[in-house]
Subunit: 323 residues, 2 copies
């Protein structure tokens, strides 16, 4: 059987051997959310157009740009998400290169896509081998092949240290996450806010951790959009979790934080500038911030779940019925 590294290399080779006129990232919920930072990085570094679609929109919309010169990257943890499997089938019918990330070799998604990349999962696993880690490697391998740059090589070296980087930052945030869980446990609604490469994990926090796993109302407001409508809901008792990234859009988060804190007394900030950046070169930090944010938001949700006595594993509909 192929190693993960071999799977990755085969997928990268296939993408590079194609015209790669465009790149579609297609998945649902949390898997879709992890594609958003990848699209941000590509948007910054490569002129090739890239898009993120929730799978069922992709399948029904059937973008006219999708064709034999497209690369379609998909992800489903179990590999059974029907919408994502259908997206892989559609993309393959159109002749696109299809690359699927999944925890499950041999799953329906794995079979539907031409190239599979298996990832690791769970508290004991190596974060560099996780969904975000393997996707990071796909993106930076493509970038490095398209326009070789020692910065990309350092990024690929640094990703191997992701587990330690995450561990240090989770330790740093443990008290804050615990305090968040206690102080916000009775909130029926918690807004989240971010921009740029950190918008993806923040969307997953709102949709998957808060709405799905805590039954807490939420909305991932874009820090730039905040001032064009949503900010009018801000009041002394309206809770916000604001993520400040380190990439080019950080000024948007800073502006949203400054305003929000003036009128709400319930603002929690996760600031990538304050992370423990040991082992990460200064110019690479903007690429790594969302990976740490992703881990920290899970930690904050873990403590919220603990204080609410509502485990993150509880569902009332998901996997329990037909829908």
């Amino acid at each position: 059987m192929e190693t993960r590294q071999q799977q990755l290399e085969r997928a990268v080779q296939a993408a590079l051997a194609s015209k790669m006129e465009n790149i579609y990232f297609v998945a649902c919920g949390g898997s879709m959310a992890l594609f958003l930072p990848a699209q941000y990085i590509l948007d910054r570094e490569l002129a090739t157009p890239s898009f993120v679609y929730t799978a069922n929109e992709f399948v029904h919309r059937e973008p006219k740009g999708l064709g034999a010169d497209s690369v379609v990257v998909l992800c489903s943890h179990s590999g059974t998400t029907p919408e994502t499997v259908n997206a892989a089938k559609l993309a393959r019918e159109k002749g696109a290169i299809t690359i699927a990330f999944s925890n499950e070799v041999g799953s329906p998604l794995w079979e539907a896509a031409e190239y599979g990349i298996q990832y690791d999962w769970g508290p004991e696993s190596d974060a560099a081998q996780s969904n975000v880690g393997m996707l990071f490697k796909l993106v930076f391998n493509i970038l490095n092949a398209k326009a070789p740059n020692e910065k990309y090589e350092r990024a690929l070296n640094t990703i191997t240290k992701l587990k330690d980087i995450l561990t240090r930052n989770k330790e740093q945030h443990e008290e804050a996450a615990k305090a968040f869980g206690s102080a916000y446990k009775r909130e029926p609604l918690i807004y989240a806010m971010a921009s740029g490469s950190c918008y993806g994990p923040t969307y997953a926090f709102a949709a998957c951790l808060l709405q799905e796993m805590q039954w807490v109302h939420s909305n991932a407001i874009h820090s730039g959009e905040y001032f064009h409508g949503p900010f009018e809901v801000t009041d002394y008792d309206v809770p916000f979790v604001i993520v400040k990234g380190l990439d080019e859009t950080r000024p948007l988060d800073e502006r949203a934080e400054a305003f929000c804190k003036k009128f709400s007394e319930r603002v929690v900030v996760i600031d990538a500038a304050e992370f423990d950046w040991t082992d990460v070169g200064e110019d690479l930090r903007k690429y790594f911030a969302y990976l740490i944010v992703n881990g920290l938001l899970r930690q904050y949700a873990d403590w919220l779940a603990e204080h609410r006595g509502h485990p993150l594993s509880v569902r009332r509909y998901m996997w329990k019925m037909e829908y």
Copy 2:
């Protein structure tokens, strides 16, 4: 002075004379929301990649695909939105064709962009001359030039009847909108849900009409994403406004409605299949649904405002301070 039609023609000519390797739609809040259906239609009809960005994300992200072969379409009602003005400046520096929609000739956005298209506004105005009407004409003129089709010409003829189409549908929905205002006036949170070309107006309903103009918590959930997280918040007393469009993604809305109605007793549905379609050819209805939805959601918000005694014009922060 140029007529609106002349402004439009000049902008279309400029776009067509360029390589138009990609199209960026850039604005904030409600103006950004009205670009989303345009991007949907282009995605369906044209292989040229098109994108929608909130203006400040666009300015800071500075997508690498932006350049001399790009067309950048912007919109600001007053023409003073600083983020959008900056986006126009950036796009122009990069040599892109810049086309700005605004209610105000001579506004900062008007001056920053190379081509201006002035639109009409207000209850007495002709909807075909409004922001959505003029944008519709831009999109279908470009499509018709790229791949002439009598369907596109009929769409352009039909848009001239938009005012009557809207009037008839508003009359049809008057009682339902009034009932919504009364029945939902005490809700602190109302979710909205849609997909495809109707997602844009639904986003504007959540962010601008509910959050901004009513201080009601909201989130425009994508009907396809609903099942991958957000649906777990559904309960008997959680209110949803669901929009069912008529384009290719309608099955997503139907599925979301069927599930949502099983577990919530507070579901309001706006169904484009039930609209008064007089004067609109059957094959064109999928393109016109979002225009009617846009008008109806405003009508629903008008009645909510009436019953809440909170006029849509009230603000606490917007335009009242620096932010």
